[in-house]
């Protein structure tokens, strides 16, 4: 029996192994993912992002506890950075979530970024799909502690949470528009600390300045104290409100089609590149072009034209040409 079949029968080890195969880029994983695909698309995906140490993992732990109380099965994907020097990583998000480790309704997977710069790993989407096929009702994705550019999470999750803490630099203006725009929910965590009121006020003011169409979702700024579980019920209520909004407004269709198109485009781009690169690397064309370029006899523009003309000339290309 293949991994996918086993996973659909509830085999935890098979699921964990497929996630590994995906992460390690084993081509065998593709067939398994194909079989799981019809069983995906059911889970509600929550993204949690924010600066290092803001309390993201502690929040994930609390949100998980809240959804468990509602009887939901919860999958967690927690991403931490790979060291660019050694390729190794210490994945420590689980430390905050240990109480769920042996709860059969929870599955936690730690992933390393492995060189990916968007705040999650390349494998994250497929790992989420495996959890979705396992029947997880809610899947929470914790990004690495991010600055402002690592915002791949918005395309992945139905609801993106941006976690802030009081006193993050003196001036909240320092937070670039990028991270403000991606949030469906803002959380000011560590509300027990001085300056929480001010951070909430400043965030709310910045949000009010943004322009919104009538009926458009307006992100709220919530306060939490994740380490003591304060404000979590309100946060979960806000998630449910956003999820309901996505459906009543029809935004879910736009979200899905943008997400699907991104997934397809990225996969197609990778695949075309890998195939063509593989061929020109093995048949000597690449070496030829490179030596031509170093002698300044071949230019890269014509070389790419020639490669495309040679390898992408199916019937469609002729019609289009």
């Amino acid at each position: 029996m293949g991994l996918a079949e086993k996973i659909l029968q509830g085999d935890i080890r098979a699921a964990a192994r497929l996630m590994r195969d995906v992460d390690d880029g084993f081509t065998s994983s593709i067939d398994e993912l194909k079989q799981l695909y019809p069983h995906t698309g059911r889970a509600y995906l929550i993204g949690i992002t924010g600066p290092p140490g803001a309390g993201k993992s502690t929040l994930v732990d609390q949100i998980t506890a809240a959804y468990r109380k509602l009887g939901k099965r919860v999958g967690i994907v927690a991403v931490d950075p790979t060291s660019p020097f050694t390729g190794g990583a210490i994945l420590g998000d689980r430390i905050r979530m240990n109480r769920h480790a042996d709860d059969e309704g929870v599955f936690i997977r730690s992933l390393a970024t492995r060189g990916c710069l968007g705040g999650i790993s390349r494998s994250t989407g497929d790992v989420v799909n495996v959890m979705d096929a396992m029947g997880m009702d809610v899947i929470i994705i914790e990004t690495v502690g991010v600055g402002q550019d690592e915002v791949d999470i918005v395309r992945m999750a139905h609801t993106t949470t941006v976690v802030m803490v009081p006193g993050l630099g003196d001036d909240i203006q320092a937070i670039k528009a990028g991270i403000l725009e991606i949030a469906d929910v803002f959380v000011v965590n560590k509300a027990d600390r001085d300056g929480a009121d001010r951070t909430v006020r400043e965030l709310s003011m910045m949000l009010e300045m943004g322009e919104r169409a009538p009926g458009e979702w307006v992100p709220k700024v919530l306060r939490t104290e994740a380490s003591r579980g304060v404000g979590i019920d309100e946060l979960v209520a806000e998630y449910e409100a956003h999820r309901a909004y996505l459906h009543t407004s029809g935004d879910i269709h736009r979200f899905n089609s943008e997400k699907n198109s991104t997934i397809l485009m990225e996969m197609l781009r990778d695949r075309l590149f890998r195939d063509i690169y593989g061929r020109i690397a093995s048949n000597g064309t690449l070496a030829e072009i490179l030596s031509g370029m170093s002698a300044r006899e071949t230019d890269p523009y014509s070389a790419v034209d020639a490669i495309v003309a040679r390898y992408l000339t199916g019937a469609d290309a002729r019609v289009a040409g």
Partner: protein, 132 residues
């Protein structure tokens, strides 16, 4: 075919607050290019085994300086067997008297690293004995 990245779980079973050794070893593994799932202090054997399975690690390295090694470590091995996951190797380090080592090994612990072992030796052992 792509290559496997070695994954190791480093954790501390029981009520043992000594985490320096575990952190030193976790860092050494990271610096050797491994992915380390660090689960921190106060883990039950059940939590350790569940985490190891979900994370699909190749091996579990446990740190224990509390004196409770003779009960906690065999328990981890036993639970792995029960879950059909005893292909995941278990090794350990910490304050463990010489006399206890044979018993631990016959319970399924692959190797024991006592205080003063260099992290180079630990990493070398893992690279030699653990395969993805």
């Amino acid at each position: 075919m792509a290559e496997r990245k070695l994954r190791v779980l480093v954790g501390k079973p029981g009520l043992d607050g000594h985490d320096r050794g575990a952190k030193v070893v976790a860092r050494a593994f990271r610096d050797a290019g491994l992915e380390v799932i660090y689960t921190g202090l106060h883990q039950t054997p059940e939590q350790i085994v569940a985490a190891a399975i979900q994370e699909d690690v190749d091996c579990i390295g446990l740190s224990i300086l509390s004196g409770a090694h003779n009960t906690l470590l065999p328990k981890v091995c036993q639970l792995l067997k029960e879950k059909n996951a005893d292909d995941i190797a278990v090794f350990c380090g910490g304050v463990i008297p010489e006399d206890d080592i044979p018993g631990l090994k016959s319970a399924g612990i692959k190797e024991v690293f006592t205080p003063g072992t260099s992290t180079e030796d630990i990493v070398a052992w893992v690279k030699e004995h653990i395969h993805g």
